[in-house]
């Protein structure tokens, strides 16, 4: 069982990461992955030009690590990959890659889903977007908390 959890401050290559992760887990019958990217979007003040994620060093990476341990304790996994960007990103840039490798597919689906719901609602990230030349902080969304309640 391997947990690979990284907070990244520069761009990463999701296909290369996924290839490497897959190669490391030949005993897995299935690998479920989720890639989150900066969507091309338009808000009131215009097209979204950039997204910035901030983190707090002492809490963010340890929190991601704890989450990966929780997922591993709940499902029978061969490996879990959790990569998350911080810093400045442009539309189309990858933000997050989660991959769960398991002997059987249901464990992999559930673990990836669980990790994503918790990253979206509980991970120590603050996000702002730039549109029409102006930065605006993004507030938490109720739906993220509703997603979290699925696991309680």
């Amino acid at each position: 069982m391997t947990l690979d959890v990284r907070l990244l401050t520069s761009p990463f290559d999701p296909p290369a990461e996924l290839d490497q992760f897959t190669g490391q887990h030949p005993a897995a019958g299935g690998i479920v992955s989720f890639l989150g990217q900066v969507r091309i979007d338009t808000v009131e003040s215009g097209a979204v030009e950039a997204l910035e994620l901030r983190h707090y060093e002492p809490l963010t990476q340890p929190g991601m690590q704890d989450l990966a341990h929780d997922a591993n304790a709940r499902w029978d996994l061969e490996g879990l990959l959790v990569l998350h960007r911080s810093g400045l990103m442009l539309p189309g840039d990858p933000i997050v890659l989660v991959a769960a490798a398991a002997r059987h597919r249901r464990d992999a689906f559930a673990a990836a889903d669980f990790v994503m719901d918790h990253l979206k609602s509980e991970a120590w990230f603050w996000k702002r977007e730039k549109a029409g030349g102006t930065w605006r902080w993004i507030e938490p969304r109720d739906v993220d908390f509703a997603d979290l309640a699925r696991w309680q």
């Binding site: 989150g36 994620l53 901030r54 707090y56 060093e57 002492p58 809490l59 998350h84 933000i95 997050v96 990253l119 979206k120 609602s121 509980e122 991970a123 120590w124 990230f125 603050w126 996000k127 702002r128 902080w137 993004i138 507030e139 938490p140 969304r141 993220d144």
Partner: protein, 75 residues
């Protein structure tokens, strides 16, 4: 340290303040608008990188780092 939207209110991500014995006194010495934002229940606190559950119970020492953490906006 001011995270998220608190950074805009504080005019920067970090501020050095004179040593004070309690968190309440540190906050009281700041600009009133910023102070009232920091007093909100939904703003969490970390001292020297560790989350604080009861902010009134915590005594401070010279050189401590306080981080004010508004609700996270998710990854």
């Amino acid at each position: 340290m001011f995270l998220g939207r608190l950074e805009d209110l504080a005019g920067g991500a970090e501020k050095q303040v004179p040593a004070a014995p309690s968190i309440a006194e540190v906050i009281a010495a700041l600009d009133p608008d910023l102070a009232s934002a920091l007093r909100q229940d939904r703003v969490r606190l970390a001292i020297n990188g560790a989350l604080v559950t009861d902010r009134s119970a915590h005594s401070l020492h010279d050189g401590d780092e306080i981080a004010f953490l508004p609700p996270v906006s998710g990854g």
